[in-house]
Symmetry: none
Subunit: 207 residues, 4 copies
DNA sequence: GATGAATGAGGCTTCATTCAT
DNA sequence: TATGAATGAAGCCTCATTCAT
């Protein structure tokens, strides 16, 4: 199944995985190239055969993982059209990714955080694509008369993502190995938003 | 009320304000002590008369500003007991702080990010106190039979905060000076959560 | 006479002198910043308070020393108008500089070499000014009917300088401490050129 | 005459020529082995099958080219015995080599420059042999009563060479493709030295 | 012979922090 | 208190050279 030529010594993968571990453990700035090299079992210089520099290494991880996230999300939503169900699946998928790959999640979060301030001009387009999937769910729900028309998709989308992300960060940062059930958290958030976005019955919201 | 002798030359305040500007502009890691000193109009060494080190400077800013946030939040909510209204006021207050002091907001966000990953053992207790106000709103709403009992206050609280924070970050990071109306965003988020947390009428959430 | 504030600890001068020694000893590329710092008795970082980088250190030495050369040359030629005598004085001055400051001479030579190939866009204007003095001597000699009109001042000037420089290099590179008398070499070259530039069957080379 | 099997794939020649181009373009220190390999169309490691290291590559070029220069000089002077004419032919030959192979000239000059400082113990014996030809011309001229006995052949030889070399460097370094006529420069220098070395009120410079 | 991926020593430079004034 | 020149540890990255294929 696997390509023997690549699988045996694929240095790029070794380095990427090592970098994820080290970045997750220490954060980008505290991570030393030599830490990553040692973890990967390669020489320092080898890293520079595959990545332009330390920043490029971080961004490459981000890009690669977001590609996986994006395609994984596509599969997770496949065949489901109901906006409410798609919302739930989005949240579940997101948290399951975190659960299944805690370290990658940490790095993506580091990246998202620091890149915004530190890499002033980097545009996390992959993130936008990922998020845009939920934006689209909102719009479809609105068109189907399921979600309130006065919802601002942009605000709602970022609010949803921010909420998921913050909860994921609390989970990831916790010293406990599995501080709270992520699937339940996903349903909490999904249902909260689904109700919040819902068109109607809610008669008395005013006071 | 204020000491005129102190107010004119209060180096600590000068340094704090300079640090806020510089941290906001460049981020913590890219900020140089000498940048802050120059901006404050003091010598590099002077900073170390008031702060133990660069990290302490950041944390001091965080603590001081969170104290202001906390007391400001208290004032904003004063006299209002209805959980729904308190929720709206919380969101409005949060975004108005961002609006009125964009740079402080940026620093707090930087701080929140870095403190989690970089300052391993720092516990942002002031943030927890701030957030706890909303946690309390949730619980009160539940006790008053207004919010669903099956809501997890912890998840909901962090989800709400994460949403607000992410939206604030998008606002702050935007190249436009006022990319979207924050008050409206506050109401969008507040109403979304109020509806989402609401106990009832919502008959058909199942599908 | 000397400025006590400067003379006691003038780090810049310490560094410059140390750099001259080390550059002369090892050449620019082999010279280590830490060698220079150690020789100067300062920390590595101190060098960067006074010079932008290693290259700037080299160029600064070049500029400073060429300034001294240029003004020294002016003094050496002062009051002498006869082109032949000025030619002799030029050669004597040049070699005496080499003799009195062998290491500076080495550095200038290193610099001249490197600047041309390595520092692509650096224009050694100070050197041109220095050389231009001899170019002017040639032209004056031509106008006074002393030197052949068919001499190309540009070729002659560079030829003279190249000759002096190569001889200086042989002297400087020799393992002996004073391999041959520089004053005599100066007169050899000067007289050779004087005769070579002379208009006619010049019997009287004396003056 | 040539071995067709060798000439087609003679890697050593490919590498040498590539190195000349790259050294001429960037200088020795800035030249990368991989630049040379790419230019030669071989792998980096292949260079080490033919040359011990980078320095050896430079020195080999120098040795090979100086051999050519030396034999070429011999041919150029063949059959001419008059020291004055031999002097002119030397200068003409030297500049024609520069003219016909500008890049090789650049490398030889780089080499001469840097080798002296950088390769402390390398003795450019081939250069001495080349130069010695002119030293011999001087001595023959002296013996034939044509050149002044008080000339120091060593000084004169190096002065002549330094002059030629410096002029060549100006020509080579110029951004213009042919900044000044080298043949004329050769005659300028040759006649200048011939007159300068001449025994006496030399009226007849012609021959 | 030929390759080129991998190596890893080593240097320039930065910058938080100190301390003599 | 205030200064700011000096410190020096530490890291990213380069690139000549090697060696398994």
């Amino acid at each position: 199944m696997s390509d023997p030529k690549r699988s045996r010594t694929d240095k790029r993968t070794l380095i990427t995985n090592a970098a994820i571990n080290v970045f997750a453990d220490k954060g980008f700035h505290q991570a030393r190239i030599s830490d990553i090299a040692r973890t990967a079992g390669v020489a320092d210089g080898t890293i520079y055969l595959y990545f332009k520099n330390k920043e490029d290494l971080l961004l490459s991880i981000f890009e690669e993982k977001m590609d996986l996230m994006l395609s994984g999300l596509g599969e997770a939503l496949e065949g489901v059209n109901a906006p409410r169900q798609r919302t739930r699946l989005f949240a579940l998928f997101h948290f399951r990714q975190v659960f299944e790959n805690r370290q990658t999640a940490e790095v993506l979060q580091v990246e998202l955080r620091l890149s915004n301030k530190f890499l002033k001009d980097y545009r996390p387009e992959k993130l936008w694509a990922y998020l845009g999937v939920f934006g689209q769910i909102i719009r479809e729900g609105q068109e189907m008369g399921m979600f309130r028309k006065d919802l601002d998709p942009f605000i709602t989308m970022w609010g949803f993502f921010g909420g998921l992300d913050e909860i994921a960060m609390q989970w990831v940062l916790s010293s406990k190995s599995d501080p709270f059930p992520l699937d339940e958290a996903a349903l909490q958030m999904a249902n909260l938003f689904i109700r919040g976005m819902a068109l109607a019955p809610t008669s008395s919201i005013e006071s």
